[in-house]
């Protein structure tokens, strides 16, 4: 009798195990939604996908493209539908946080040991919300001043001597006097202008102030951020941008810089590619002619001049889809080996440990070092603070440049939006 019972139980367990194991072998599909326009990058990703599928014959990976604007508009509804992808491209920041807190993302904290082993903890922390992990970073970005060396030479400006904001303003005046448009700016989209105000706020106010604002222990309405507005006005009074900048989108401004019609462009390193493709010749400001310098320090500012403004972009798991297969794909995609490959191709500034050495492009290399040496790598404010507060920061930055708002009113409006978030 006892034996029979034993037999029944063991058969049951056996069948169960068999069912489980067949499911493990069964074909699984991991869908990934991204907004990558660049065909070269897409091809490189596809090579990685083929390698992965060769090593994991039971997993199929599907890379789906959606235009950036369309993705932003569709994602809120898509994430609540059954048609959602397993993973999607995320800029981190406020939107990522809100979605994670709203339960729209999958918590993969317990499966992330291998991801954590491969990726630096600084970059990883950008994808942690309250200590839990819902995705992982893929690349780093930094915003800084790109400049046209021959135009600088023509005006007799030496980029290496620009150390303070005053030096920078002098350089702008000198360029202007030489009959060169000093700076290109995509004012119609506003976010290119918010880099100025937020970088100044970082240099003048420092990291501690920003952190206490995030913790609601301080206000945007403080003397340092008012001064950021005043310093921005000093630049604005030099009338530094190409004519009609308020009607131009980012890519049009990149074209102005790429055509050599303006000497400077404050932008992330993605601009290397964009200013090239948007230029009339298709070559942009290339090779030895393209220079880079960091956003200068501001005299009397509390901020560490090594602090960088930029991005930590990556991938997020949608709720219910943090499956082993999906995690395995991301582990493979973000492994040092693949990141090194992408870095060597000049596509990304990698996040994986040791992959930064593979960066060959001198500009990318410098930016990788900047971020590595940075005491504070801050994600773009308009992303980090969420769409609504970020939108207000973009608005007031543009209005400060146009002289339609005072530095005091600007911080007041930002704080109002922050209070009412």
């Amino acid at each position: 009798m006892l034996k029979l019972k034993h037999l029944v139980v063991s058969t049951c367990v056996g069948t169960l195990l068999a069912v489980c194991s067949t499911q493990l072998v069964a074909e699984e599909t991991v869908t990934v939604l991204h907004n990558q326009q660049d065909q070269f990058i897409r091809d490189t990703w596809d090579d990685i996908r083929v390698d992965f599928e060769a090593q994991n014959p039971n997993i199929t990976v599907q890379l789906d493209f959606m235009d950036d604007d369309a993705m932003k508009a569709r994602l809120p509804t898509l994430l609540q539908s059954n048609a959602k992808p397993d993973l999607y491209w995320s800029f981190g920041g406020g939107n990522y946080r809100v979605r994670a807190e709203a339960g729209l993302l999958a918590d993969i904290t317990d499966k992330a040991d291998r991801l954590r082993a491969n990726i630096g903890s600084g970059a990883m922390s950008a994808f942690e919300v309250n200590g839990r992990l819902y995705g992982a970073p893929y690349r780093l970005a930094q915003v800084g001043f790109w400049y046209n060396k021959s135009l600088f030479e023509q005006a007799g400006v030496n980029a290496d001597s620009i150390e303070t904001w005053d030096d920078f303003l002098d350089a702008v005046s000198t360029l202007k006097e030489a009959g060169i448009t000093p700076i290109a700016a995509g004012g119609a989209e506003r976010w290119p202008l918010h880099f100025y105000w937020t970088y100044l706020a970082m240099r003048i106010g420092g990291q501690d102030l920003f952190q206490s604002i995030l913790a609601d222990e301080a206000s945007f309405d403080n003397e340092h951020y008012v001064r950021a507005g005043e310093e921005l006005r000093r630049l604005a009074e030099l009338d530094p941008f190409q004519p009609g900048y308020r009607g131009m989108a980012y890519n049009e401004a990149a074209g102005v810089f790429g055509n050599g019609q303006a000497a400077i462009h404050l932008m992330g390193e993605w601009d290397i590619g964009v200013q090239t493709s948007e230029s009339e010749s298709g070559e942009g400001v290339s090779g030895g002619n393209l220079g880079y310098f960091n956003f200068p320090m501001v005299a009397g500012g509390l901020g560490d001049p090594s602090a960088t403004l930029g991005g930590v972009d990556g991938w997020a798991f949608t709720s219910g889809n943090g499956s082993d297969a999906a995690v395995r794909w991301l582990e493979f995609f973000l492994a040092p080996e693949q990141q090194r490959k992408l870095a060597a191709a000049g596509i990304i500034i990698p996040v994986a440990n040791g992959a930064a050495e593979a960066v060959e492009d001198p500009h990318m290399k410098q930016i990788a070092e900047n971020i590595a040496n940075s005491s504070w790598h801050q994600v773009f404010w308009d992303q980090a603070l969420g769409a609504d507060v970020g939108g207000v920061i973009n608005d007031v930055s543009a209005e400060l440049f146009a002289g339609e708002i005072s530095p005091e009113d600007a911080v007041d409006r930002v704080q109002q939006a922050w209070d009412f978030r």
């Binding site: 508009a73 809120p76 609540q80 809100v98 009607g247 939108g391 209005e399 009412f420």
Partner: protein, 319 residues
């Protein structure tokens, strides 16, 4: 006992026949059956797709809500704050004023222009047909396409505006980048895009004016202007009222064409209309509650206008 039964029975049949009588009177020609069969589906669709969304956005407008999850999870009751903020926002004032500008431009320039053209090409003839087609062409274009075309025209470096300023040796001019000009530039496009539509309405009206009336007036010695003002215009008044109604409602809903022309409301939001304001601050910045509050205000404006216009202007049609 028995007599009581009979009395009850009589009462019952009496009531039954009363119901029958009522049904007979009210269901003549199957009127009642038709109502019961045909109203519920239409009513249900209308409730689901029109009434319910309107009511819902009315509810949302009192919340601070990003729309990512259910209202009960992430919404926060804020009372009238959304409305307070909107009504105090100078950008919203500008948006309302801009919308009013579209109405004014329509009434003062677009409709008179459409009428003038209609009067001159209403009579039948192959040349007139050609002109009708040419004037109607802009209206056929999709709004977004028209916006993109005009974005190129207004380009201060390479566009038609640039060609113009270069021809006269003037300083280059960027209408869409200029706070004072951006919306005026849009108004030009509005007139260009929609005058053909109103012209067509007028032409249809003018062609229904009986020829004998015009002829009789001519025989009585009426001048061309007198014929227009005393005969034609009064006779096509219903068409004019209708086209005014369309242009006001169109102005209140103006959106698609502004989007490609100016990014998020142009310089400092100076070129927002009410709907682009709703889109920028409600949808793009994921503040569904705020956007709903704008929508509620817009709905109230539309409803008040439609009601007044129907009651006091369109009603004259039957008089």
């Amino acid at each position: 006992m028995k007599s009581v039964d009979i009395a009850l029975e009589a009462q019952r049949t009496g009531r039954l026949s009363a119901v029958k009588e009522w049904l007979y009177r009210h269901n003549t020609g199957g009127r009642l059956s038709t109502l019961l069969l045909f109203i519920p589906p239409a009513l249900m669709v209308f409730t689901l797709l029109v009434i319910l969304p309107i009511a819902e956005s009315g509810v949302y407008s009192f919340y601070r809500w990003n729309g990512f999850t259910a209202l009960s999870d992430s919404g926060r009751w804020v009372g009238w704050r959304n409305f307070q903020f909107i009504l105090q926002d100078p950008v919203f004032h500008q948006a309302v004023w801009n919308t009013a500008k579209i109405v004014l431009i329509s009434l003062l320039i677009q409709l008179p222009l459409a009428m003038m053209l209609a009067l001159s090409i209403a009579s039948k003839g192959s040349l007139n047909t050609l002109f009708r087609l040419v004037y109607f062409l802009p209206f056929i274009l999709a709004d977004v396409v028209a916006g993109l075309i005009w974005r190129f025209i207004y380009d201060g470096n390479f566009g038609l505006v640039a060609a113009f300023t270069q021809l006269f040796g003037m300083e280059s001019f960027y209408p869409l980048a200029d706070r004072d000009w951006a919306f005026n530039a849009i108004l030009v496009v509005v007139v260009w895009k929609y005058f053909g539509y109103h012209m067509m309405i007028y032409i249809a009206g003018l062609q229904s004016v009986p020829n004998d009336l015009v002829e009789a007036a001519r025989l009585d010695g009426a001048s061309r202007l007198q014929i227009i003002f005393r005969i034609k215009l009064p006779l096509i008044m219903p068409a004019i009222r209708l086209s005014i109604f369309f242009s006001v409602i169109g102005a209140l809903q103006f959106f698609e064409m502004a989007m490609p022309l100016v990014t998020s409301g142009g310089p400092s939001g100076s070129a927002h209309t009410i709907v682009t304001y709703l889109y920028e601050f409600g949808i793009v910045r994921s503040r569904i509650g705020f956007g709903s509050a704008v929508a509620v205000l817009l709905f109230v404006m539309c409803a008040i206008f439609a009601f007044i216009y129907q009651r006091f202007v369109m009603a004259r049609n039957t008089a």
